[in-house]
Amino acid sequence: MFSYSIVGAQLYVGDMLFVMLSFLVLMWLIKIIAWKPITKMMQNRSDKIASDIDSAKESRTKAAELAATRQAELQKTREDANGIINTAKQNGQQQREKIVEDARNEASNLKSSAEKDIEQQRQEALANSRKDVASLSIEIATKIISKELNADDQKGLVDSYIEGLGKQK
C-alpha cells in the first residue's frame, strides 16, 4: 500500500534532508521572531515580581516600624498632656489659694483700717464734743458769772491776773 515506506523499495533521503533543514530553519526563525522576546519578557516579569515581593516586604516592615513609632509617640504625647493638665491643675489650686489668702488679708486689712478710722473719728468726735462742752460750759459760766460778778470781784480778778503776770516775769 505504501511503497515509499522505509521497508519498501525506496528511501527518500531527500525528504530526510528537507525535514531536517526545514526544522532547523523553523527553529531559527522562531528563535528570532518569538523565542528571544518572549523569554526576555517572561524573565523580566519574574524579576519584576520578585522585586515587587521584596519591596512589598520592605514597605510592610517600614509600615510596622512607623506604626510602632507613632504608637510610642502617641503614648508620649498622652503622658505629656496628662503632665500639663496636672501642672495646670496644681497651678490653679495654688493660685486659688493665693487669691483667697490675698482676699482674706485685704479684707482683714480693710477691716482693721476701718476700725482705726472709726476709732479716730470717735476720738475726734469725743474731743470735739469735749471742746464744745468746755466752751459751752464756759459760755454758760460766763453768762452766769457776768450776771453775778460785781465790780469788786472784777477788780479782784484783774488784780490776781496782774499779779500772776508779775510772777511770771
Binding site: Q10, D15, I30, A34, T39
Partner: protein, 237 residues
Amino acid sequence: MSGGTPSTFEFLGLTFNVGNMISILIACAVVLGLVYALSRHLTMKPGKGQNVLEYAVDFTNGIVNSSIPGATSKFLGLWGFTLFMFIIVANLEGLFLHIDVSGVAYVKSPTSDPVVTMTLSLMTMTLAQFLGIRKLGYKGHFENYLKPFVFFLPINLFEEFTNFLTLGLRLFGNILSGEMLLGIIVGMAHGGPVIWIGAFILELVWTGFSVFIGCIQAYVFVTLSSVYISRKIELED
C-alpha cells in the same frame, strides 16, 4: 491515501517526495504564522495572544525541565517548543486539509510518513549523542554503554536503536492509522445518502479522536525525546 505512487523527483541524486515537501512547508508556515501572530505587542502585562504563547512556552519548558535539569535545558527550551509546535501542527494538518490529486496525496499530515517521523527521531538521537559527548566528554559518553557491566554493550546499543525506532514509529503509526481510517470512512460515504449521514457522524467522531491522539503524540514525542537526552547527559551509576 489511496495508495498511489507518490509524485517524486530527483535532484542531485536524491529522491524528493513532493507531497511531503508541500505538507512540511505548510506545517512550518502555520507554526511560524501562529507564533508570529501571537508574539506581536509583547508587554509586561500579557494580552490574549501573548498569554497563549506564554502558556505554550511554559508547557514545553515544563516538559523539558522536568526531565533535563540544569543549564542545558535553557537552549533545549527552544528545541522542545519548536518540536512540539511542529509535530502538533503536522499531526493536525491532515485532519483539516487533505488534498489528493488522482490518487497522489499532495497535502496531508507530514507525520503520517515514516520518513518524516524517523528523521525527527534521528535528529533527537543525534542531539542526545551530541549533548552527551559535550557534557561528559567522549570517554564518559561511551563508557555509559559499558554500564552496569561490559556485557551490557550489545543491550545498550540495541536499546539505542530501538529508542530511535520506537520514537519515530509510534508517532508515524498513530497519525497514519488516524488518516487511514478517515480515508476508509470517506470511501464508505460513497455508498448512498443514509450511509453518507452515518459516515459523516463517524468521521466527526474519529476526527475528534484523531485531534486528541495528535496532541497526545506531540506531547509524548517531546517528553520521550527529553528523557532520552537526559539519560545521555548524566553518568550512569
